[in-house]
Symmetry: C2
Subunit: 420 residues, 2 copies
Amino acid sequence: MEIEFSIVIIGDEILLGQVSDANTSAIIRALAPVGFRCRQVLTVGDNAADIRSAINTSMELTPLVITTGGLGPTKDDITRGALMEIFGGTLKEDPEVTLNIEQVFSRRGLELNPLTRLQAWVPDTARVLMNRFGTAPGLLFTRRDDTMKQRVICLPGVPSETAGMLPDVVVPTLVEEFHAPSDTRHISYIVAGISESALAQKLDAFEDALPAEAHLAYLPNGGWIHLRLDISGGSDEQAHTLSTALESELGPYLLTHGYHTPAEILINLLRERNYTMGTAESCTGGNIAHAITTVPGSSDVFKGAVVSYANSVKEEILGVDPLTLETLGAVSLPVAKQMAVGALRELDADCAISTTGIAGPSGGTEEKPVGTVWLCISTPQALLTHCLHLRGSRTNIIERTTTEAIIALIRLLQNPSWTF
Amino acid sequence: MEIEFSIVIIGDEILLGQVSDANTSAIIRALAPVGFRCRQVLTVGDNAADIRSAINTSMELTPLVITTGGLGPTKDDITRGALMEIFGGTLKEDPEVTLNIEQVFSRRGLELNPLTRLQAWVPDTARVLMNRFGTAPGLLFTRRDDTMKQRVICLPGVPSETAGMLPDVVVPTLVEEFHAPSDTRHISYIVAGISESALAQKLDAFEDALPAEAHLAYLPNGGWIHLRLDISGGSDEQAHTLSTALESELGPYLLTHGYHTPAEILINLLRERNYTMGTAESCTGGNIAHAITTVPGSSDVFKGAVVSYANSVKEEILGVDPLTLETLGAVSLPVAKQMAVGALRELDADCAISTTGIAGPSGGTEEKPVGTVWLCISTPQALLTHCLHLRGSRTNIIERTTTEAIIALIRLLQNPSWTF
C-alpha cells in the first residue's frame, strides 16, 4: 500500500511569480521509491494564518505533511511559529544546530550574525533533522490521535538545501517512521512521434480491457510522452503479460523502456556505441549542450559545442560559406548542413546536431515566420535535415527544438534510415 | 485595491513529479499588472472528487479561481465534468471551437481524430475563451451569490497554450469583468553580494521604521535577491522618500533598479556601451549562453560560445596550452584565463566569460572537490579571475556558476576595479 502525503509550499516569492517552485518535484521524486504518493500540493504566502490553515487542512487529508519555506532568518519566515501554535512547545537552543551553523559560515568565509544564530532555537516539541547544506534545520513534529499518528516535516525553502536533505535525512527518517515499502509496480515507457490524443485513441481498447488493479497514466512532456502502467498488488506474470501487450500496441512510437529523459537515452546510446557527439547551435543558443551536460557522466560522450549566434562565428569557426549565408540566409537547409559538418570537424566528434532558426519574438518574415527552424542531424551512418514549424514563446521554441533534435539523433542512431 | 485569486493546478503528472508546474508563475506574472494578487495555489491529481473539492475550497477563499489542466482529450482529463457538477449545464458543440480545432490540425498537418473533436463540446453554462494556441478551449463560469460574484476560469495544462492565452484572452476578459486597476506601488531592486539574512539585518531599523502601509519583501533567487518595497495607497512623494532612503541603505549591494534578471541587466548594459560578448564554457556546458540567449534581443550583443567540454576542444578551438592542461589540470586559473582570451579572439567579442570546474557528482578530488569552479571575466578595461567553492547538486553548481559569472561581468562593466 502506498502512503499518501501532502506538500505545503510556503513563500511570497512563489505567489508573486518571481520564483518557480522547484521543491515539489524534488520531494515527490525522492519519496516515490520508498512508497509515498503525493495527494495534494498547497502553496501559500508568508502569512501565519494561511500557513496554519494550510497545514491543518493538509493534516486532515493525509497522515504525512511536508512543508518547505519560511524557516529562514528574516521577518517573512514564520513557519516555526505557525507550527508551534499547532503542536505547542517552547524554543530551546540546539547546540548541535549552533555548531552546524558556525561550520557552514566558516566554510563560506562569512561572518555569523545574530539573526542567523537564532535559527538554532528550535521548538522542544520537534525532532531536529540536521541540515548539512545550510543553516535552517529541518523539523519533524508528531501528534498521536485516537486513530492515527500525524507527522509534519518542515524543510527549508532553498531548493539546494531541500535537494540535499531529502536523501541525507528525510527519506531515512520516513522509512524508519513508516516502515513502508511499496507493492505497486510502475512500468514506464518513453513514447515519441505521436500526440497525446492520438496515443490515447490508439490505446483506447487496451485501456478498456485493463483489469481493475491496473491503470495507464499519460505524462506528456512537450515533444515526448512518459507512459506509465501502474499495477497494484498483481503477480510478476500478470505484469509481464500486460507490459508485453502494451509494447506491441506502441510499436514504432516506443523510444525506450523505463523512465529516462531523451538526453539520458541519447547519452546511454552513444556510450554503448562508443561514439562521441557535439553541437553547432544558433537559435537554441547552447540549450542542447546544456540539456546534455546536465546529465551526470555526459563528459564520456559529449565533446563540446559551438554556439554560433553571430553569422561571423558560423563562418569563422564552423566554416559556413559566406555566399550561402548571403543568398539563402542563416535559416536554411544548406547552412544547417554546413554547421553540422563544421561541428563534426572542429569538435572531432562522431555525431552532430545543428540548429538554425527564428526563436522570436522578432526576426520573423512572411517567408520564414517565427518558429521556422532548420535542423541537421549527423551520425557515422546517416545525415538528415528537417525544417520544424513551431509556435509559442521564445523559450518554448528553444525548448521544443532541443527536444526534437535530441530525439531525432536517438532515432537516427537506432535506425539509419529513419526520417521525420 | 488588489483583487485576490486562487489557482488550482490539475494533473497527475505534477503530483508524480514528472513535470514541474510552469503555469503558476506565468499566470501570476500576467495578472499582477492589472491588479490581481495570488492568495493560494492548490495542486491536485486527475481525480473528480479532489478537483471538485479544490475548486470549492478555492471559491470560498477568493472571488476568482483559475484552473489549469484536465481539459485535454484523454480519459485523465475530467476538469470539464467536475465544473459541470458545480455549475450545472449540458454539453453543446461550439462551432467556432470546432473550426479552431480543424485549423490547428490542418496547420500542423495532422489528421483530426474523434477524441480531439470532442473538445469542441462545451458546457452551456460557460463562456468560451478561444484558444488560438491549441485545441482545448478555455472556459469562464460565473455564479452570483447573495453578496458577491464568483468566477472560475479553466485553462488547458499545456504551458505554451496557457502562456499564449493569458495576454490574448484571459487578461482582457478579467479587465472587462472586474474593471480593476491596482493602487499598490511595487518598487523593485536587484541586490547581489550579500546573503538574505545579512541583508535583513542591515535593513532591520529601516523595516521597523516603515509606515503601516509599506512592506518590504525579500525574494531570494540563488545568488541574487529581488527586494520589493510595496506601498498601498500612498503619495508619489512618500514613495520617493522611502525609496531614496532604501537605496542609500543598500549602497554597493544594489545591482540595479526595477525587476530584471541578471541576464537582462547584462544585455542592457552591453547594448548601452555598444559592446559584444561571448563565452567559453566547460563545467557550465552552454548554460551561460543559454541564460543569455533566452532573453529576446540578445543577438544584438551576444556573438556566441565555445563549449569546450573535452580538453581537445579547449586546445584546438580556444588555443589553451596543452602543457598547462597537463601540469595544472583543466580546473585551474591559467586555463580559465586562456579560455577567456581564446573566446575573445575566436568569437571576436569585446567581453568574455569562461568557466572550468567540477560539477559532480563524480570527478572531485581532495585538492579540487566537487564544486570547485574557476571563472575568468574579461572586459575591454579589466580581466578578473576567481575560484568559487560551491555545494549542492550538479544542476545547482551549474546554475549558481552561471549566475555568479553573469553578475561578475555586470559588476566589472559597472566598475573596472571591482573584485569578488
